[in-house]
Symmetry: C2
Subunit: 467 residues, 2 copies
């Protein structure tokens, strides 16, 4: 439906344009149309032409006029919508409720576990990027390999050996665009519909969406401040023969709990015995307050049963989206095939920027500062909710508080009220594979600054008191 400027039927073209959009279901009943001025500008036609088209739509009761405020879609005009939907809406797509919460712009953002961009060394990043272009003048003209830049993988393998005593070779690493892509690749590579997957309860809600979308049956494993109920894990492995156990044992999301070393070793034994892969997601390893956390499970794995995901997306450079997956052969081959189908490799530029920044002294200094800043924010949040009677276990790292409200309170109702006051958080049920835990909430202390944090929590408590 191109609009030809020299057409005699210009106003009819505009009319068709709008009708097509209505028929496609792009506008809902009672939704406001663009103003005459806006649409004239968008379509590059005279305002009078749009006015004429709107008048005809009004005559045909496709739109109605409300006071002086504009043109609105008439509910009766929404025919043909079902007709188009039918061939499309039959696939099994899970809606991600969390991303809807994240899309609501609020002043007091406690829902996204993101680092406040003001805590990142932005100016320093820019310097590094220039360095990368000097080193690799053709970086923008070059594809990465599917597995990821070899120089980066070599550097990371070296770093893991030195820093974590993790013996892994560059061939056992694959670079992904964020941890979410890593989880999705693993799910696509290993899960067939009706396969069983163990997941912590609560857990990272995007991971629930991913495994569910792949058709997995999810068996929950409870997490406690002291780790797992190992007998429950073994019972589940024995009974359900799960293909994998997705876990986040270090400053666990959302609870902040850390699984102790003896549980880690035991889990690897169980995995080997019951042939259940362990998918260890470890995005917060470097965000500790006080002591460093225990070594990853991956360190205790000799049989190739642990797949290790390490994301640097959150706290080094969110705009780069760099994460890695460490896995032994032959699993790596399958992951590479899926990565190749997915996007043929993470952009080379992002890998090269990350490489040089990651290896710099400055990065370690940045991390140290970041830990301090986040710990302060955590303590401010804990102080702000101290008098409420809510319960939580103070985390030793990570970005979130996992808070228990009184049993009778629904976190979802609380959230609805809060959003009206421009406050967001994650209601507990979203983090629960069973969709319960409704009297829990996850509060992220990483995104808003100290002043806003205090003010926002105060307002949240006010809303809470109205319940």
């Amino acid at each position: 439906m191109p609009l030809k400027k020299n057409s005699n039927r210009l106003f009819e073209d505009v009319y068709d344009f709008i009708v097509n959009r209505i028929n496609r279901g792009e506008w809902m009943a009672h939704e406001k149309l663009p103003s005459i001025r806006e649409l004239a500008k968008e379509l590059n036609v005279h305002r009078l032409t749009v006015f004429k088209a709107y008048q005809r739509l009004k005559e045909e009761k496709k739109v109605y006029v409300k006071d002086k405020s504009g043109y609105f879609i008439h509910p009766g005009s929404l025919e043909g919508f079902e007709h188009i939907e039918s061939p499309i809406y039959t696939s099994r797509v899970q809606r991600s409720y969390l991303s809807e919460i994240h899309q609501i712009p609020v002043t007091y953002q406690f829902s996204q576990a993101l680092i406040d961009p003001n805590l990142l060394p932005n100016h320093y990043f820019a310097e590094y990027v220039k360095k990368v272009f000097d080193l690799y003048p053709k970086v923008l003209g070059t594809y990465s390999t599917v597995q990821g830049d070899e120089e980066l993988r070599e550097a990371l393998a070296h770093y893991f050996r030195k820093r974590h005593q993790l013996y892994v070779s560059a061939n056992e690493l694959i670079i992904t665009s964020g941890a979410q892509q890593a989880i999705n690749l693993i799910s696509q590579a290993l899960i067939k519909p009706r396969d069983t997957v163990l997941m912590e309860r609560p857990t990272y809600s995007a991971a629930i969406d991913i495994f569910r979308h792949q058709g997995a049956a999810i068996i929950p494993v409870d997490v406690y401040p002291y780790g797992y109920d190992i007998e429950q894990v073994e019972r589940n492995m024995k009974q359900y023969k799960p293909r994998l156990f997705y876990l986040n044992p270090t400053f666990h999301n959302p609870t902040g709990y850390t699984v102790p070393t003896e549980h880690r070793k035991k889990l690897v034994e169980l995995a080997e015995h019951y042939q259940c892969l362990l998918v260890e997601d470890d995005p917060f390893h470097d965000i500790y307050f006080g002591h460093e956390p225990p070594s990853p499970l991956f360190r205790y794995d000799t049989g190739g049963y642990v797949i290790y995901i390490r994301s640097y997306s959150k706290y080094i450079a969110p705009g780069l989206r760099i994460a890695l997956v460490a896995s032994r052969q032959p699993l790596m081959k399958i992951l590479l095939t899926i990565k190749s189908l997915s996007d043929n490799g993470t952009p080379l530029l992002n890998q090269k920027i990350f490489l040089h920044y990651f290896l710099s002294e400055r990065m370690q200094q940045h991390l140290e500062k970041l830990r301090i800043a986040l710990n302060i924010r955590k303590e401010i949040m804990e102080e702000a909710i101290a008098s409420t009677g809510w319960e939580w276990s103070s985390p030793k790292g990570g970005l979130n508080l996992w808070v228990k409200l009184p049993d009778e309170l629904s976190s979802q109702s609380l959230l609805s009220k809060c959003i009206e006051r421009s406050i967001s958080f994650v209601p507990g049920n979203i983090c629960d594979p069973l969709n319960e835990l409704d009297s829990w909430i996850r509060l992220s202390y990483s995104f808003v600054n100290e002043r806003k944090l205090t003010k926002g929590i105060k307002e949240l408590i006010e809303v809470y008191k109205t319940f």
Copy 2:
């Protein structure tokens, strides 16, 4: 299996390290082990320690020694491999043969349809990147939205209106990491196992892999220099009720053919009538020699039946991996859910760099030069094969020649011989959903320079003559 330097059992640790790798199947029978010096360095132990471990492995017949050339894996040592494989290798993963060809480093690279990085304005790119950091100092600390940067989508929507008379709003665009991700998202969003998909024959081999991986049954549609056999298309739509038709109607990959406007219009009508979505992949639209190609099918679509993929990954900035999908609601909602599961959004940095480069005057100048350079390379390649008796239809755009060799010749056998001479191309069967067309080959003229092109084709013809 961490190696502790103070352990008394250090040589046994090294031994275990190697045995674990053998058991994991990381080394094949008769594969060479790292040298004693290399492994000692990798594990940070004394060479004597590695030597002792290797001696024990030799005694146990896990490895054998060949002359003076080193230690090799004994075939009998590869037990336990199957044991580990079993829980892993049961998923339905298709191997991508093409990516294997691409991974072979050759001097005369005619297999990858990539632009020679020397033809891209690399220095100019670097300038733009600096500009981007001045404009958006926090770009590395910020996530993109799932749909893609709004500023970029607005700019692209405007560009499509002005340049192609395609009326599309920013809300109808989604930014992806390359066209491959776009095809994969569409496949995941719309295809269930055993759904039918129409594909051109031949076609883009990665797309075959993607739809097949999703479990689709593929029905081929022949392409000719004059377009499609429209009756065949209609017959297929009627009989197989395909969910979608994946097509590449402009400087088609691999043939270079362009489908004329009347076929485009007719296809859109058929799509609407038989409720078959058209997935129009259009990566070469701007790579024309002479006339501009006809408008995309997307322009003729009023019912929301065309999904339009436009990649800028190939010829603007391969290192950025930017492509877009244009689609009407409600399809967009599903694509966004899948994009959200896949990677939660393409990195913001890449989108901002692309935005500013794409809108620059320089980009248009670059494109004009690129077209001339590619046309010259095409003509050189055509001249070089003119005397062979091979058949092809000279393309008016794109990056490839699709060449018919004599019937009795197998392109796969020819490829094996060529790779020995450091020449690669794509054998026709890979581009064929039926895995036939074995006497055809795809030769890309975009990657190697004029001198190498002449030399490489000359060598290729020499190999051919030995058949």
